[in-house]
């Protein structure tokens, strides 16, 4: 089990990518015509949301791998991925609220289906950890958590579909699509997305290394007869 291998490369590239992304956001990307400077939140909020949602789905895929192989390491990976997506998800909700406040004067708007969907997804995943802690047998805990992760992972797209259908009118501004951005903005967005993905990967492998270390420590204590 290589602990922390590649963590250094990952960390350095994350810091570099973050620096480049921030530089592009504040010094390269043009000020958006309608929203002005406020639109800079877009480069933070949307990539984070995408990364976080991908993390949730990825956690579900890892859970499938866990159930298929019965390899506990997949469960650990799934756990860490979902854990990290939850943390970034909190940022997504907060930045979304700030953006909504700046843009519409309200901290929360129900007319923004992406944000609403995200809230529902977060409410669901908020029960992931309580579910784990409520099961004592470690093996069953892993299995039940995987069942949850798979179900919830499939729920993410399903939920987005339903919520989007339910928003009766088209919201005034595109808060999720980057399709018709002018090239400088698209570039900035892409770099931001890459930086956020790298950040996510770094934090995940950081957490994973920490978890593995603690597991190793525990089992070393046991082997040496101290516990």
């Amino acid at each position: 089990m290589p602990i922390g291998r590649g963590l250094r490369t990952l960390s350095i590239s994350t810091v570099a990518a973050m620096g480049v992304a921030l530089g592009l956001v504040f010094f390269y990307a043009p000020i958006e015509a309608e929203e002005g400077f406020l639109q800079k939140i877009f480069y933070l909020h949307v990539p984070l949301a995408i990364v976080s949602l991908c993390g949730f789905v990825l956690g579900g895929l890892m859970a499938i791998a866990h159930l298929r192989t019965r390899d506990q390491r997949w469960d650990l990976r799934s756990y860490v991925t979902i854990h990290m997506s939850l943390i970034l998800g909190v940022v997504v909700l907060l930045t979304g609220a700030i953006w909504a406040r700046g843009s519409w004067g309200h901290w929360w708007v129900w007319s923004e289906p992406t944000l609403v969907s995200f809230l529902i997804v977060m409410l669901l995943y908020a029960t992931y950890q309580p579910l784990r802690f409520a099961i004592e047998d470690p093996e069953r805990q892993a299995r039940y958590a995987s069942v949850f992760a798979i179900t919830a992972g499939a729920f993410v797209p399903m939920n987005f579909l339903a919520v989007r259908l339910s928003s009766s009118y088209l919201h005034p501004r595109v808060l999720g699509s980057s399709s018709n951005l002018p090239p400088p903005m698209a570039l900035t967005f892409g770099v931001s997305l890459g930086a956020m993905a790298l950040l996510f990967a770094t934090l995940c492998s950081y957490e994973l290394a920490a978890k593995r270390t603690r597991i190793l420590l525990k089992s070393s204590s046991r082997i040496l007869g101290y516990r």
Binding site: G36, V91, L94, R101, D137, R214, L217, L224, G225, Y226
Partner: protein
């Protein structure tokens, strides 16, 4: 958040942008801080293990440590003997395996 937004210029929305980025970095930093606390706990446990590894092991299922590992004498001086007698109880006492999960059967 309200007061923070109020102190910054409203017209351009820069206050909100600053708030959003601050929130982002703050949460990442909080996470790093929590990990630092956990890391210090791991370090403490490793030190403890290291100190004990210097002692001749009681019932080593495997070689406990190399003799050269004794370092950190200030820690090794105070061996936590608390766990040792308990281990003896476990193996020779009335109940050889006190942690056996009666639970397992009940919950299955």
């Amino acid at each position: 958040m309200n007061s923070l937004a109020a102190t910054l210029p409203q017209g351009t929305g820069s206050g909100y942008v600053a708030a959003a980025y601050i929130v982002f970095f703050a949460i990442v930093l909080i996470y790093v801080a929590i990990m630092a606390i956990r890391l210090s706990r791991v370090e403490r446990d490793v030190r403890e293990l290291h100190a004990r590894a210097g002692q001749p092991p009681q019932q080593p299922p495997q070689p406990a440590a190399r003799p050269g590992d004794v370092g950190e004498p200030q820690l090794a001086e105070q061996p936590q003997l608390g766990a040792r007698p308990r281990r003896q109880d476990e193996t020779h006492g009335q109940t050889p395996e006190p942690h056996t999960p009666v639970r397992e059967r009940e919950t299955v």
